[in-house]
């Protein structure tokens, strides 16, 4: 991989993310309530929580893909849902997003995928777009795969390509949905290393990572937002999360099994039938 350098001489101002009394969900279902926190500018914030606790829902709302039932989201001081459509689009162009599986367009090559925002939003000649694309692909170690289609790549490579696309417009805000899920330990460590490098070299960038990977959180997080049962269980620095006295936070960090035991039992008839089937 190349050494990381911002591909601009004029870096944007860093943005923080203020979540103020958010109540979120889909349709009539409330997924998260009373979510308030400030994800600090220029740092890596990790949104943690068990499966189905609403991490990705929160991310979708920060991206402006869904509107909260209540509360405000401020990006760099601007209330996201009070913006005019034109300003909203401007803010969106300043976000880089890595979706869970990369969300690369299947009909485009890797180079076309990474260059898509430039192709759509700028008048740069193709030669310069290619140069920026090659630079961003080299950041994630995929420069040799520029003409491959997404279905010809592994899951980890697709994620790295998604990261290259997210980075191509020099965003002050980078949001990553489960960047290490489904990756082997080496690829996972590589992704963490990449995010840390981005933070180190792109000081203007606020990085938000949605994850349930504790080891990854330990390596990369400056700030932690832990969600449980539709509410915030912890919000604060990584150092403070380990000092928390909250029972759920402790259990989550120590990977304890839940206290509730399994009360469902199989009926004798079902058990016998199953046994006969397994061992005739």
């Amino acid at each position: 991989m190349n050494s990381l350098q911002p591909n601009t001489d004029n870096p944007p101002a860093p943005w923080n993310i203020e979540l103020d009394g958010l109540c979120l969900g889909y349709g009539d279902t409330v997924v998260l309530e009373e979510v308030s926190d400030i994800l600090p500018a220029g740092e890596i914030s990790v949104i943690l929580g068990g499966s189905g606790c609403g991490k990705s829902t929160l991310l979708r709302h920060i991206l402006g893909l869904n509107r909260p039932f209540k509360g405000r989201i401020r990006l760099g001081g601007k209330d996201l849902f009070a913006l005019s459509p034109k300003e909203f689009r401007k803010v969106r162009r300043r976000m880089g997003v890595l979706f869970q599986d990369g969300a690369l367009l299947g009909s485009l090559t890797l180079a076309q995928n990474v260059g898509l925002p430039l192709f759509e939003h700028t008048n740069l000649p193709q030669r310069l777009i290619d140069e920026v694309v090659d630079y961003n692909l080299s950041l994630v170690g995929l420069e040799k795969f520029r003409d491959y289609f997404p279905n010809e790549l592994s899951g980890g490579m697709r994620k790295r390509a998604g990261l290259a696309r997210a980075m191509v417009m020099n965003p002050p805000l980078l949001l990553c949905d489960e960047p290490t899920s489904g990756l082997d330990p080496i690829n996972s460590a590589q992704m963490d290393h990449l995010l840390l490098n981005l933070k180190r070299n792109f000081s203007y960038m606020t990085i938000v990572v949605v994850s349930h990977d504790l080891s990854s959180m330990q390596k990369i997080a400056d700030h932690v937002l832990l969600l449980n049962r539709g509410r915030v269980a912890f919000a604060g620095s990584k150092a403070d999360v380990w000092k928390s006295e909250d029972a759920y936070v402790k259990d989550f960090l120590e990977r304890k099994e839940p206290l509730e035991t399994h009360t469902h039992t199989l009926s004798a008839e079902a058990s016998r039938a199953l046994q006969r089937w397994i061992d005739p």
Partner: protein, 264 residues
């Protein structure tokens, strides 16, 4: 016990409300697709869709058109010969193709070949977050995915209908003259004398309307696949694809009747 059951009026009304809402949503979707036509790089995207929807359907339309014309020639001949009017075969074949069968069969064939793949492609993009990714990059997903297909359909449907009509008339000619021994000059003269510009215009109007209906129904089903209540994920894409083809065919036949009653 009966308290939990919905009232009969509610049970009858719910699907009507659903249908009305869907019609309204489809209408607004179409308006939005037209509004997004004048976007950057539209020409390039339209050209690609003309190739995908049109050029790739060319041989199928040629084949179906030929055999439709041949069957029309065969059936028409045996019907007309009973009245001693077999000389009118050319007129019968040409008029039925240009006014009715050409636009309808072409639209149904394109629905089966390209419409289903439009729904499946957009549906897969929806469930794999690709459409969200476009929106987040501030790339209007309507102008990127839907409007090019709409414009391409407006170009392709009349062109393929014209090809279907011509090849159908040639098919009728082959059965009528080569197989059944009808005079070649009579067949061509009857085609020439019976077909008026009004018939051709009517056929083209139908083709254009069917182009809008098919492209919008197929795009709509794929675009909103995540909102389906009957299924989710890949199953939803498969159900949406089936629903898109059925809806398109129903709309084609319904609007064919409406347009015919206005154009006659």
């Amino acid at each position: 016990m009966a308290l939990n059951r919905p009232h009969i009026l509610a049970a009858l009304g719910a699907p009507v409300i659903d249908f009305t809402q869907s019609c309204g949503a489809l209408f607004l979707f179409t308006i939005e697709a037209f509004r997004c036509i004048f976007a950057r790089h539209m020409l390039r995207r339209v050209a690609w869709q003309v190739y995908v929807i049109g050029a790739k359907s060319f041989w199928l339309i040629l084949l179906i058109g030929l055999f439709t014309g041949m069957v029309l020639g065969l059936q028409g001949y045996y019907a007309l010969v009973k009245f001693g009017a077999d000389g009118f075969l050319g007129a019968a074949v040409a008029l039925s193709l240009i006014r009715e069968l050409g636009p309808v069969l072409t639209a149904i064939m394109i629905t089966g070949r390209a419409g289903s793949s439009i729904t499946a492609e957009i549906g897969v993009m929806r469930i794999s977050d690709q459409i969200d990714a476009l929106d987040v990059m501030d790339i209007n997903s309507m102008s990127y995915l839907v409007s090019p297909r709409l414009v391409a359909s407006l170009i392709v449907f009349p062109m393929l209908t014209a090809i279907f009509d011509i090849i159908g008339i040639i098919g009728g000619y082959l059965t009528g003259t080569v197989l059944l021994g009808l005079n070649q000059g009579v067949y061509i003269a009857r085609v020439h004398s019976s077909v008026e510009m009004l018939d051709v215009r009517g056929g083209f109007i139908k083709a254009i309307v069917f182009g809008v209906l098919v492209s919008m129904a197929c795009c709509y089903m794929g675009y909103f696949v995540h909102q389906r209540r009957d299924s989710a994920g890949p199953e939803a894409v498969s159900n949406a694809t089936t629903a898109a083809v059925v809806l398109s065919c129903v709309l084609i036949l319904m609007f064919d009747y409406v347009l015919t009653s206005f154009l006659l």
